[in-house]
């Protein structure tokens, strides 16, 4: 079981810890990730806002590259925005022959083509359905016992394409986190929008959404995320939002593979905990208390 890996721009910059921890976890699980050569930006939310064809073309180029590398291996995408953009091309191409034709013309410029592209899979999808919680449970050597985690899914890995989870009441992370020994805290905000794409241009609107999420997460030790936009949004503005809300809303925010990596026995450096912007002392204390246990 190997995957063609599409990291996307964020994972090579502001979300490097997501990239590093993902690779580390898969390595620990004995699965090879092969990065697409010369992959390009998926267009994020910006491309569609400029030209929808441009958005599709950017995604299509990556699919074509992946197909040329290995048509039988799924494309694993950790970033939700990238995932959706690539998925959208995968789906829309199939339904809209006109679009498919145009994409062929554009890709033709670089002598690329899409025939039967590999499936686009989100990291969470692969973890839940391919790796499975059972495997994690077996491989967990450092159970995160007593760590209270709220799983945050964001939007674009869930919607509009309901591929691997309920698009409004997702639960796929629950099993994975429990397999890691963590306690999953029930909350309402797992699938609510954090407003990341507005944070640069309409921060006053976006902050309201983040505030709601942070408010509901109170009581948990950490938020687990699967999207670099969400992660940055939830960890980067905690001080300002706490100030607005008049109450301390700071909370540790970690990428899901970081938590899984820790449970699998990786050390803090291997999952790049040093890059996280929000790690609370309470969380770090608990982390130190987790013992490596030898699996029976």
């Amino acid at each position: 079981m190997n995957y063609t890996y599409y990291p996307g721009c964020s994972l090579s910059g502001s979300a490097m810890e997501y990239d590093v921890s993902t690779r580390a976890v898969f390595e620990r699980l004995g699965i090879t990730l092969t990065e697409i050569d010369d992959w390009n930006c998926c267009g994020a939310t910006a491309a569609e806002a400029v030209s929808s064809l441009l958005g599709s073309a950017l995604g299509a180029r990556n699919l074509a590259l992946a197909e040329s590398m290995d048509p039988s291996s799924d494309i694993l995408v950790p970033c939700s925005a990238c995932y959706l953009n690539l998925k959208k091309v995968e789906m829309e191409r199939r339904e809209d022959p006109e679009l498919a034709k145009n994409l062929d013309t554009i890709l033709g410029e670089e002598d690329l083509a899409i025939n039967n592209p590999p499936r686009v899979r989100h990291l969470l999808d692969v973890l839940v359905n391919d790796i499975t919680a059972d495997t994690l449970l077996q491989k967990t050597t450092r159970p995160l016992t007593g760590l209270r985690v709220v799983p945050y899914y964001g939007c674009q890995c869930l919607r509009p394409y309901a591929v691997f989870d309920d698009p409004e009441a997702p639960t796929s992370m629950d099993g994975l986190l429990r397999a890691c020994g963590a306690e999953v805290v029930e909350w309402e905000m797992g699938a609510r929008c954090c407003g990341a794409s507005n944070m640069s241009t309409k921060p006053e609107t976006a902050k309201k959404l983040v505030q709601k999420i942070l408010m509901d997460a109170r009581g948990a030790d950490a938020i687990a995320t699967v999207c670099p936009m969400c992660q940055l949004n939830l960890e980067g503005f905690q001080k300002a939002i706490s100030r607005d809300a008049g109450t301390d809303l700071s909370i540790s925010v970690l990428y899901l593979p970081q938590l899984i990596g820790l449970a699998l026995g990786l050390d803090q450096g291997e999952v790049k905990l040093d890059k996280n912007l929000a790690l609370m002392p309470g969380f770090m204390e608990k982390l130190l208390g987790f013992d490596i246990v030898i699996p029976h």
Partner: protein, 1001 residues
């Protein structure tokens, strides 16, 4: 009349199946009525309250003529009719042959409990160790694995849920009648195996009903089954029911608390992507439920209905909605909630909605009811394959406008061809049975045996009562013989008490007949359990002892009442049993049809096709009515061709006489026997004798002076548009903007009802104009789009084609200002909350439907009109086309607004009603019929006022009250109001009742 017809098969024993089966049985067919369930009644067995009366009225389906052929009891319990064989747990597995000569293969589920032996004693259930969710209460309460499928059904046969049964064998051991055969070790060996029956039938009626949308099959955003206080509307009906999980008190399932706020969410599984049709009945169901809740709670529970369009499109529905809002305080909110969330803080349920102002609000409720949409019945697809009947794209039986030309002898009835309310289902079922009857009649062979004539019994009416008592003894029951014998001995009228071993068995029964044949009793009382089922057995006893069934009665030992009271009451009743010595005159085998439009012609054809005579009276010089100017309907049916075909068939039919330029002048008589004079064109009078009358006087597009109609050529009505398009005088290519205004002069204080076809007309014309000129801008200004049923798809199509729909309210009506360059329409757009000005070339007004004047005509036949001057039906649900007296019927627009297809169905139903009456034998008067003692009568005429059936008249020449025994339904109102005791109800006489009461206390 009363000729024996062939056999018909009716599939499905819900109300539609019951209606069809009774129609066919009453017109002389043998009927086999099957249902896949172990009980009859379909979905209605679970529903106790129906709008607009908020009560039940199912028994109104029962025969009105020849009443004694049918058990006159609550139909929700069961149907027992001499001409109907009921087969439960039975499905149609194959059908071969052709119309009139089918061979049907019926499969009956193997039964673990032998229905012939089970007496419903409940001992099995008492010992059963397995508790399961009660399917009758939608799982809201529990029952045992061996249970009654419907607690109030007769017969009360238990069933075993084999999915849960542990085969412990307790029930088998305890059953006193040996009725239970649990399967053996290998579980496959069943003592009573699956049975296949082959049967020759002339026609098949498919009344297999519908299913409901299952929210669990979709994304279930409303949390159905996940949140306990989110219930479906059927579950709520069960909660409100006296046999429901809380014995009829309204509680929420989660904690048994009385809710304080309840929400209904409409269109769950309807009008969506998966099912782009409207389920037609949910709006009224929700209104009814909310009204029930308001009534029950003395208006303390707040009820809110979230809806998209409140589709109260049938005649009385709008008035019901007004009552619900104004009298009962039901709150209606136009909004579409997307999901129901559980609020952890309050334990309540929260709904996010956007109201009209665009503000998002979060509303809290403690109970949410989902108005689940319709889906085709489980068996529809299989039945379509077996019978060859077509399916529409949504998987319902096809329902063509004209079934006349079809060769097939298979007809869909009721909601199997799309969800209908009870009234529409009843109409549609009678329409199906009318077509089936035609097939059977056409295929009838002359060798069929004639039905045996009644009478020829020995005359015992003047003899002193000489009562024979038969006591049915159960081997396992207590020995009551000595007690009954001693009671018999002390009653001077009893000359013998005979105990028999279980007459429910073949041997017991034969033994009883043998014994009785040797005796000469003139009254017979049989003491047994569930005597309701012995209706046909009464006839058998009657034959064996040559005694009018009037002198044979049963008393129920199984009700748990004191034995002495039961026996004495039975004796008191039988002692006074009698048959009124009056005879109804023979039915006149002719039906008068007033009005020669589509409805009138269809009704006449349906009558004449079954061998009776029909006479059409039309006041115009030609037949056709509104069809003359209509071109086609929204589905594309060609009305010109329909008119030609129908007229041709009417003119050629030997059984139909047509009088054009003629009107009804006067009429005398009553159901079965009318004498009517017609005035024909040359001022001649023509006298006609007929047994029933069908009023098909039609209706017309309402005139208007609203919105500048009449002052500008650019303002037209739909009729004018239809004619202009048909004649080619209007070309939409020359138009740029068209505005259509709905509900003109309608659904307001002066004309309350919805005309129900105008929205379809507007959609039809909007789509037609867009087809001819895609550039055309069409605006439809509406209050509620009444695109019920499958016509919802055209609403969707019109939107997709770019027709803009703007909602306006009664308070803020559009304005039309005529100018030199076209017309300006001003309308407030509620979503944008601003007034739009639309400069248009054409404004089309939907002015609604008015009935032709029928009040004087109806009065001639002792029928009435409703508040809107349409024909007043005896009961809008259960007797939707008949007048109370049972001899007058109406169809088409005379009955209320309806489209051509619905008119045709109502016409066939009206014909079926007339046929039920005039094909009745009426040789004997029903046992429970009113009489009069002239010597006591002071002619106060109160009985006449109190008789809703119009069975009583004053014969002023003779100074006597006359009773029509056919029209009389034995309700007893006349006897109740008569202080003189001059009016009496046979078999409910004063002395008889006194003695029965005496015996009871």
């Amino acid at each position: 009349m009363g000729e024996k017809q062939g056999r018909a098969l009716v599939v499905g024993a819900g109300i539609s199946g019951i209606r069809s089966a009774l129609d066919l049985a009453e017109t002389g067919c043998d009927v086999t009525l099957i249902d896949a369930a172990p009980h009859m009644g379909g979905v209605l067995s679970k529903l106790e309250y129906q709008f607009p009366s908020d009560g039940c009225g199912m028994c109104r389906l029962l025969p009105m003529a020849d009443r004694d052929t049918c058990l006159q009891a609550c139909l929700r319990k069961g149907l027992v009719h001499g001409g109907i064989d009921l087969m439960l747990s039975t499905t149609l597995k194959g059908l071969e042959g052709e119309a009139g000569k089918y061979r049907a293969i019926l499969e009956t589920e193997p039964s673990i409990i032998d229905p012939k032996l089970c007496t419903g004693c409940n001992r099995c259930s008492e010992v059963c160790p397995v508790t399961i969710p009660d399917p009758f209460n939608q799982g809201l309460s529990t029952t045992k694995a061996v249970h009654l499928p419907v607690p109030h059904a007769i017969p009360n046969i238990y069933t075993i849920d084999m999915d849960h049964c542990t085969l412990c064998g307790e029930c088998e051991t305890v059953c006193p009648f040996g009725a239970i055969y649990l399967p053996g070790e290998d579980r496959l060996e069943l003592k009573i195996p699956r049975t296949l029956v082959e049967m020759d039938v002339g026609a098949v009626v498919l009344a297999c009903g519908i299913d409901y949308y299952d929210p669990l099959s979709g994304v279930n955003t409303f949390g159905y089954k996940a949140l306990k206080d989110v219930v479906s509307n059927i579950e709520l009906e069960r909660i409100l029911s006296g046999t429901g999980p809380f014995n009829g008190s309204l509680k929420r399932p989660s904690d048994g608390q009385v809710p304080s706020r309840m929400a209904w969410i409409q269109c769950v599984g309807s009008r969506d992507l998966e099912f782009p049709a409207c389920s037609s009945v949910c709006c009224m169901i929700a209104l009814k439920e909310a009204v029930l809740v308001r009534k029950r709670s003395r208006q303390t529970i707040e009820t809110v209905i979230y809806y998209m369009d409140m589709r109260c499109f049938s005649k009385e529905f709008e008035a019901y909605r007004r009552r619900a809002e104004n009298e009962y305080g039901v709150i209606l909110k136009r909004a579409r909630p997307h999901s129901v969330r559980y609020d952890r803080n309050t334990g309540g349920l929260s709904l996010y909605i956007t109201d009209d102002s665009g503000i998002r609000v979060d509303e809290m409720f403690d109970m949410v009811v989902l108005s689940l949409g319709q889906r085709p019945g489980k068996s529809v697809k299989e039945l379509a394959e077996i019978t060859g009947i077509g399916l529409n794209p949504l998987g319902f039986f096809e329902d063509p406008l004209s079934g006349e030309g079809d060769k097939t002898g298979v007809f869909a009835a009721g909601s199997a061809s799309g969800l209908k309310d009870i009234g529409e289902s009843v109409i549609h079922s009678s329409s199906a049975s009318a077509m089936a009857l035609k097939v059977i009649h056409g295929a009838r062979s002359p060798h069929d045996e004639e039905r045996e004539p009644l009478n020829g019994f020995r005359d015992v009416s003047t003899q002193v009562p000489d009562i024979g008592v038969i006591l049915c003894q159960c081997a396992n029951g207590p020995d009551i013989e000595p007690q009954v014998k001693s009671m018999g001995a002390s009653d001077v009228h009893v000359s013998g008490v005979m105990a028999m071993d279980r007459i429910c068995t073949r041997e017991g029964w034969d033994g009883m007949l043998e014994t009785l044949a040797e005796k000469t009793f003139n009254r017979i009382l049989v003491l047994a359990c569930t005597p309701q089922l012995f209706l046909d057995k009464k006839a058998a006893i009657s034959k064996a002892v040559n005694l009018d069934p009037a002198y044979i009665d049963f008393a129920d030992l199984g009700k748990g009442e004191p034995l002495a009271a039961t026996v004495k009451m039975g004796l008191a009743r039988i002692r006074y049993a009698d048959r009124l010595n009056s005879r109804a005159s023979a039915m006149v085998p002719t039906v008068l049809v007033v009005g020669g439009g589509l409805g009138g012609m269809t009704a006449a054809l349906s009558v004449a096709d079954t061998g009776f005579e029909a006479i059409i009276v039309e006041k115009e010089s030609r037949l056709g009515g509104n069809l003359v100017w209509l071109e086609k309907d929204i589905t594309g049916n060609d009305f010109g061709r329909l008119l030609d075909n129908t007229c041709r068939r009417v003119e050629k039919h030997p059984g139909i006489r047509v009088f054009t330029n003629a009107v009804v002048e006067d009429s005398r008589g009553g159901p079965g026997n009318y004498t009517t004079s017609l005035k024909t064109c040359d001022n001649d009078s023509k006298i006609i004798d007929h047994g029933a009358v069908i009023l098909a006087t039609g209706g017309r597009e309402a005139e208007t002076s609203a919105y500048g109609y009449g002052t500008s050529d650019a303002v037209m009505t739909h009729r004018e548009v239809e004619q202009a398009l048909k004649a080619g005088t209007m070309d939409p290519v020359n138009l740029n903007v068209v505005v259509m205004i709905q509900c003109v002069d309608s659904r307001n204080d002066s004309r309350e009802y919805c005309s129900r076809i105008c929205c379809k007309s507007s959609l039809k014309h909007a789509l037609e104009m867009k087809r001819l000129n895609p550039e055309l801008d069409v605006y439809v200004l509406y209050r509620e789009m009444m695109s019920y049923g499958f016509s919802e798809t055209y609403f969707k199509e019109a939107r997709e084609k770019g027709v803009i729909f703007i909602r306006y309210s009664q308070e803020l009506q559009p304005e039309v200002l005529s100018g030199t360059d076209g017309v300006m329409v001003k309308v407030h757009e509620p979503i944008l909350d601003r007034t739009l000005e639309i400069r248009s070339d054409l404004v089309v007004l939907a002015t609604g439907i008015l009935p032709s004047v029928i009040k004087p005509l109806a009065a001639l036949f002792d029928a009435r009109v409703d508040d809107y001057s349409f024909f007043k039906a005896a009961d809008s649900k259960w007797r939707p086309v008949d007048a109370v007296n049972g001899g007058v019927f109406a169809c088409g627009l005379a009955l209320g607004p309806r489209d051509a297809k619905e008119s045709v169905a109502s016409a066939r139903a009206a014909a079926m009603g007339a046929l039920r009456l005039i094909s009745s034998k009426s040789a004997g008067v029903s046992l429970v019929t009113a009489g009069i003692k002239p010597s006591l009568c002071t002619l106060c005429e109160r009985c006449i006022d109190s008789c809703v059936y119009g069975a009583r008249t004053l014969d002023s020449d003779a100074g006597k009250i006359r009773i029509d025994p056919v029209a009389c339904q034995g309700c007893g109102s006349c006897a109740a109001v008569c202080t003189n005791s001059a009016s009496f109800l046979n078999n409910y006489l004063d002395q008889q009742m006194f003695e029965i009461i005496d015996a009871a206390i």
